[in-house]
Symmetry: C2
Subunit: 376 residues, 2 copies
């Protein structure tokens, strides 16, 4: 993997870059749709590529490990072959889902013991075997196993948790360096900066991560319960230390405003389930604000969903029709909202890139934050 | 509406024709996807048009009357404008759903009294007001209100039921003739032949319907519990009487084999929820037989879903991937299966048309019935 930093904004830390992988290039800043169980929910691969214009998608190691399982993924020749997505894929390590989804999980020095949320079966993720698993999945970008410390953890817990994450990172990194991809193309490995909301822990973690010299670096453990201002502060602390010439990935964040603030602070890559999950519940994000499509006010509004939207659903369906589909619990409602929201998120990051390159990012971003947080 | 009979098969009653409406032409025999609540479930309008190649879709008057309701549909300028489907639409009368879905329904001479399955509110469908409702919906082809007699009804019940259907038909027809469309294009009205499995009742009903001189005629009350051979026998009885120069629509039927047998007996139009409903449950219909996609045998079959299929999903996704999506209860599974099945049903009727025109329908149909009933 290669990263070329094209331009850094003069009035902020916002950056425009290009990531090159064996499955194609990614123009940063970029939003990456989440394809949990080998599918971005309610969206066809063709729509992802042509309508949403996704350049890279995520897969979740925890979900893929349980279903379809490593045997099937290996036989298929990896996830790209399995789901037919030919562009880059990033996988998380599975650690986050172990904590949020599985039953009776337990952390030891060895790794994360857990029971499947599907059938209760027992499993163990270690720093080494999640690398092996991601080798089988064949993602272009693999992630280290870490403990995602809760946003309200006290200092002592956060410090102990970070120490474990650090020891796991060293083991995972070693294993990554000693192994190779299975399918003839290159894979890379991102370490993750944890440290909760504590400046000294984040600083220490960022230094350790920076020293590894990985192709890219991630910031984890944010947007997990801490105040938003703390999140922005931690991004600043970490990005002051992470190398300029490597992409920075802010994991699991967030609202359109969060993403714009992240870009301003030098983040290059984002993922979040918000556009799809909230979309399935009727929430649409647009450049003019947020719409709750279940609201009665749309019942007889026959204007296009989003006249300025970039995907075909925005102009070929009306607000009244989409509201009707949500009220009637039609699957098509979730399909339309998912395409719209993902296309908007991808557009938002790519428009930020254009503004950075044009030298107009800062005023555009300030205006945009105001607009995207409006309730329509 | 106009119907041109192009060719009748020499060795059967199978026919190839062209229906012309103000929203475009329909090549018969044709399968019409069912768009219950203004949406063919899990399918985008673009997919209906370009991938499934649907020439006409159905709407359900009962559902549309309840949601979004006539006020919204009227304000929208009709269903075409509301859901963005620009080709022909046929609506049923709502009678069938009153019997199958609503609570505490009651038939009187006046009409069908029922309570909404959504909120329990009280409503009345009369032969006249379902014409008015379909005027507001703006379907190209409207259907008469009838009682769909159960397939196991005894003779006395069937006779009484048919008498009521006949009186309702005369009232509905009169009202149709006295009213006009609301949106500047022409609508037509199909009467429905009932009579359960009784030859004399079906004969009497078919004669009455034929005498009206409508643009097209429908056969109802089949595939509702009677033996399949009885269904085929009744189609023959009715089609011997219905005029040759008008299209014949067999309502709510059926399996691919049912459709082929119907075509052989001179039916021109079909609709059924089977391709979408069964598809959402994992059943795929193909020209080589039926596949249950939840079956373990597909788990590591990485070949395309249907190499001979006509829609893009058939070759861009594998059987193993589709099985995984069903097992993981992903929405995309239902989307893929719905597109595949609908494209197959439309292809089946259009291929029948080509075979009729080529004079090869009979042997093709016999072979095809054998193939489509195979379990893969």
């Amino acid at each position: 993997m290669n990263f070329e930093l094209i331009h850094t904004d003069e009035r902020s830390h916002a950056r425009a870059g290009v990531i090159t992988t064996d499955h194609g290039t990614i123009l940063t800043p970029i939003f990456m749709p989440v394809g949990t169980v080998a599918s971005v929910k309610a969206v066809h691969q063709r729509e992802l590529r042509d309508d949403i214009k996704a350049q890279i998608i995520l897969g979740n190691t925890y979900h893929l490990y349980l279903r379809p399982g490593l045997d099937i993924l290996h036989k298929a020749g990896g996830l790209h072959k399995f789901n037919g997505w030919e562009r880059p894929i990033l996988t998380d390590s599975g650690g986050f889902q172990v904590f949020s989804l599985s039953d009776r999980r337990k952390l030891t020095e060895e790794g994360a013991h857990f029971r499947s949320h599907i059938d209760g079966s027992k499993h163990l993720f270690t720093p080494e075997n999640v690398v092996d698993t991601q080798r089988i999945i064949g993602s272009d970008i693999m992630m280290a196993l870490d403990e995602c410390t809760p946003g309200d953890a006290d200092y002592d817990y956060a410090k102990k948790s970070l120490a474990l994450t650090r020891r796991w990172l060293d083991r995972g990194w070693k294993h990554f360096c000693e192994t190779e991809g299975l399918y003839g193309y290159r894979q890379t490995f991102f370490p993750i900066v944890q440290g909760c909301v504590y400046r000294d822990l984040r600083t220490e973690a960022a230094k350790h991560v920076a020293d590894l010299g990985a192709d890219g670096n991630a910031i984890g453990g944010l947007a997990v319960g801490e105040p938003t201002e703390k999140m922005y502060e931690m991004i600043e602390v970490v990005n002051d230390i992470l190398p300029q010439d490597k992409p920075r990935y802010l994991m699991g964040v967030g609202t359109p405003a969060n993403i714009l603030e992240g870009i301003e602070r030098g983040v290059d890559m984002f993922d979040c389930v918000m556009p799809t999950r909230n979309g399935r519940n009727g929430m649409l994000f647009t450049r003019n604000g947020i719409m709750n499509m279940r609201n009665k006010k749309w019942a007889d509004d026959f204007s296009p969903i989003d006249p300025e939207g970039t995907s075909y659903v925005d102009t070929c369906y009306s607000k009244a029709y989409l509201r009707h589909l949500f009220i009637s619990e039609e699957i098509l409602a979730m399909q339309i909202a998912s395409i719209h929201n993902l296309a908007f998120y991808v557009w938002l990051t790519q428009e930020a890139r254009r503004q950075i390159l044009a030298g107009t990012f800062k005023p555009w971003k300030d205006e945009m934050v105001r607009r995207v947080t409006t309730r329509l």
